[in-house]
Symmetry: D2
Subunit: 370 residues, 4 copies
């Protein structure tokens, strides 16, 4: 059965697998002191035009967010995020487990707004009671966001300016960053991101590796004894070569760009197909995730033939589903999708309506469906 369920349904990109095989018998020290990790870090710094950057390779996204945020924040500080931010919604409270509050801002297609951020910070410091409140100690954004949307360069710069005015670091969660920087809708490069943010990570898991996320402290600002902090979080792999070799491969001959571009091309084709059947979009994103509203009865039929991801209940009769493309999506997958939709659509009436991305889905913030 073909699958558009997510961008982590397959194993590892063949080029990366090849490098794992080639280097398998090399004798290497553990804990990130291997030569592949060193090479990968050098490559990342070069690609990011960030000679002062400090890089650490962790294993997964939630681990990375918990590690970075708790290492940077002081005990009395929280992290500011969109109410839809992954850290506040779908990480099972990993940030709170490390002792810190996620302070939420309204989301706009998954993004925060520089003006609202500034207004929040002004209000916070103007409040006579702010000593009894959690201090904003970092701004977290995801790019692409949880809905696949992208910040423009000017939007990112505006947020960064507010952060610098208030002296709080800007951290960008790049779990799907390669799909962002290769989108035809972006004006942001890795070098831009390294320049504008204070910390970001380049996701491996959703970009074709088996695991691994590359954390980039862009301005020599890696917290002291970060390796020890990582160890304390259970985030230090004995075989550090595992993420090391994979990131080495990802940044060799621009593989990360090829993967990103391929997924975006597949996305373009996917969009064309979905639109040709007049599907209604919950959110049509500029990157590899697309959110479509389907009737429940139609979804039941569809799921007999293809895998998609349940996103949320839309209303009594409709559901939001996610289609994702990745390095492993093929032209053939899309041809099959088109064929299946053609067959299904002959028999099933579709009733959907367009809708603005709305707040009610963010269950942890619980602005309930009215």
């Amino acid at each position: 059965m073909i699958s558009f369920e997510s961008d982590y349904i397959n194993g590892v990109h063949p080029e990366i697998l090849k490098r794992i095989i080639e280097t398998n018998n090399d004798v290497e020290p553990g804990y990130g002191f291997d030569s592949h990790t060193k090479t990968a870090i050098a490559m990342i710094k070069e690609v990011c035009c960030a000679p002062d950057a400090e890089v650490f390779l962790a294993t997964g996204g939630t681990q990375t967010n918990q590690l970075v945020i708790s290492a940077v924040l002081k005990s009395y500080e929280g992290v500011v995020a969109a109410e839809t931010g992954h850290v506040g919604v779908h990480e099972a409270g990993a940030i709170e487990y490390s002792g810190h509050k996620v302070l939420t801002l309204p989301q706009h297609e998954g993004k925060i707004d520089a003006g609202e951020l500034k207004s929040y910070l002004e209000t916070f410091y103007a409040d006579g009671n702010h000593e009894h409140m959690v201090y904003p100690g970092m701004v977290y954004i995801s790019h692409p966001t949880e809905y696949g949307s992208l910040y423009s360069k000017s939007e990112l710069e505006a947020i960064s300016r507010v952060c610098r005015e208030y002296k709080i670091p800007l951290y960008l969660d790049g779990a799907r960053l390669i799909y962002g920087i290769t989108s035809s809708f972006t004006d942001l490069t890795l070098a831009d991101i390294a320049k504008i943010t204070d910390i970001f990570y380049i996701g491996g898991t959703k970009a074709g590796t088996l695991c691994g996320e590359a954390i980039v402290f862009t301005k020599k600002s890696m917290p002291e004894h970060f390796l020890t902090i990582a160890k304390q979080h259970g985030a230090l792999l004995a075989k550090g070569r595992l993420p090391g070799v994979q990131f080495e491969a990802l940044f060799t001959s621009g593989l990360y760009l090829n993967i990103g571009r391929h997924a975006n091309e597949m996305k373009d084709k996917l969009l064309k197909i979905l639109k040709s059947f007049d599907m209604k979009f919950f959110y049509e994103s500029p990157t590899n995730q697309q959110f479509v509203i389907v009737e429940n009865s139609f979804l039941r039929e569809l799921e007999k033939e293809i895998c998609v991801s349940f996103w949320e209940k839309y209303d009594e009769n409709h559901t939001v589903v996610r289609f994702a493309t990745s390095w492993s999506t093929t032209e053939d997958d899309l041809d099959q999708l088109e064929k299946i939709l053609s067959l299904k659509f002959r028999n099933i009436e579709i009733s959907t309506r367009n809708i603005e991305i709305s707040k009610y889905r963010n269950i942890d913030n619980v602005t309930l469906q009215k």
Copy 2:
């Protein structure tokens, strides 16, 4: 200068002080094993008609909330609260420091709604991704709320029913509980609250003691080794007699009722005065806290003569201030207030407008002012 700043501006109620003096030379064991603590606990159980209750005396409100919530929740659980709930806004992240998320519901005059609670819980468990989310493990309400509002008996019962359906305990923060149960607008007694909730506390600090909050586990549900847990939080006083003696006095001859009734009578008189000057209310509460909108220039004049509490900026030209009454408020204080207002109001034009309690003040949740 007369003060309506808060209900903790004075020392201790004279009757309680008398008891401290009387018992001062008694030799008593430490850590809550003294005779006064035992008597106080027996009195509280009797007043609450809760023979199965288990009671612990802590020192302050934030400490109590952190202690109770973290002792009851499992690591993967959070506490559900109104977006204006003290635990989520003004406790400097004490709940998150103990590892738990505050999951917010909309507030209505500071209260949560049983229907919205149920809807949130239904949606949570319906969500295919809820294993990646923080589980709702307890419901927190304050009564009176942070705005002085009160749940009716039927409202409290409705919330309790939802909690029991989902098998999560209902915890009531009673920092100002004595002002609630003695309000002429309530149909809830201490016995009702002990019956309907699973845990609650009776605040001492704001009710005339120097410190101390009595935590009541209403149904033999005090977590095992709670004394050790309290010690671990730094919440176990060596001289446990200090809260013990004070709660003993508070529950002798109905002193807690007298204090509550007096403060509510003073509140009635306060309201009458404020209304006679056509002051605009941000929220007119049924208990000892009143929230009034004043012009900034007027506020500057007023503060030369009396102390009130800055609550929040209302708009560019207006401020919300709180007036609080307590056991220590006198008729004379109110006469002076009336006199001062008479003098001030001759010279200053007031421009305020009525307004629904609105969300934007809850800065930690940051639904920003539009």
Copy 3:
């Protein structure tokens, strides 16, 4: 029944109670912004000859230790303490609850040794694996120790020199500090301690207050936003006047010295009595706590007449008990003790043997009884 159980069996010293009564009707702001707290802080700085010190008044000892240690340490650091240190043994894991390890050094009459501290630090940094270990981030000592022993000035200076060489702060737990500085066996003043340590606290609870410990950051090194950190720990009292007034009284007209001297005089008399009956000492301390080994059958008789504190099992037939004096111990108490011992000793044979203070009691470190 007369009691030597502890130094917190009575209420509050009459002079302090008098000040509580006098100031009870004053209107004061909350959270430590009251005038009494300000005065107390000024007095403490003066007495300590520490014009640059920053002072915070907390409620109890375990709370203070958790607050100070977690506020100062980085996440990857632990606190170094004697294996008998209160923080590692009798605080129910409060330090670990805040995320930090207690790193133990051998104890010598409850004290650590500067040479062993240095050797530990050298070995730590020499270890090739120290990045996988908890970094020593602070040295904790108690003075008097848990056994009533005292550091000499030169011992304290030697420890301080090691700390400064390794750039880690020296923190002195002074729960019973007033009994230390007024002992006839000490050459350390409050001013010396303020000069030699980085942080210390002056205990109130065991010195005659109802509660309250004065934390002194001796060199302008109070962590930023310490009030917020205290709030987050539930350690910020709404009625900050409660510790404020008490410390104000304690430092008025040298009351703290009078209390300390009185307790030490009573201790001298106590020692004389115990020795006159040829009691065997587990540890004969220079301060207000004395540890005596008694036969179990004798103890059972004794406890019918006086209260002492069980300390630990000595062997099958003997028990270590603690006698404590305090501000509330009277000549009459001691006369009665002498009388009771005279009566008891006629009938009961005593069999004890002298013993070096030994390690096996430190149950958390479990160097078991062989």
Copy 4:
């Protein structure tokens, strides 16, 4: 250069790599719901003769220990371990970071003794102050230990009996378990371990996988919502297939036994060589790690030719080094070692002396070198 530095210096065992390659293009759901994880779990349950076991695949050892220990303990409990236990010494305080104390027992060749465990527990509960102490909530042992030593079946049963008497679970850290169960010196099988302990894990990383540890709750005792707890710790891999496929391969056709046996055979040969050169053993273990005392000048020469692991300073002139064998050690490696030693030993005088394993190395517990 040949290396005996550790058992994680190479990549992945060829058989496991083959399985990664074969399954790479399979479409599989994430987060451990893939078919390979399911198969691996079924295989592990069968090999352990534990049909009621519940299994979770984590990534690394420290992560596993933190996850298991904090998920099982109540907040007021600590984990009992040998003073040399990995959790207390070389995990950078990961256990304390999760809020729990490591309570230490003396070690004997890295092992704890059932009698001392029982004595500790008896003393703990006999102590009148134990409510102010950390409760023992779990016993942690490693098998093989950090020094490669093994518990006999009767030793393990004795510890288990004590645990069951006190109703605390027994957790066995099996980072190198395959080298234990295939040692010619053991009488313990996986099935025995599953029967005698409550929880254990089978290490993958040191057994030939790239990462992955299989946590076995032997008696249906996996804590509720363990997946969510793992997510909260950042221990849930999106591509759960990565450990899944590897453990599937490890338990196919007894590969884990072959790997273990091979390493132990290589260890036998290694021992023979080292002994033929009259090397002095710090500890001669029954498994794949050997600890040898070498003169510092000799070590400097040796390290020009082969990699070994610095273990600790022995004295001014000697060092303890570790030799480890693994699946990747070859006969040829050992022949080369023999040849190198032959050449080196002609020119360098060796001066070592035999020594009992001693306590001073356990730096976190700091019983210092005298």
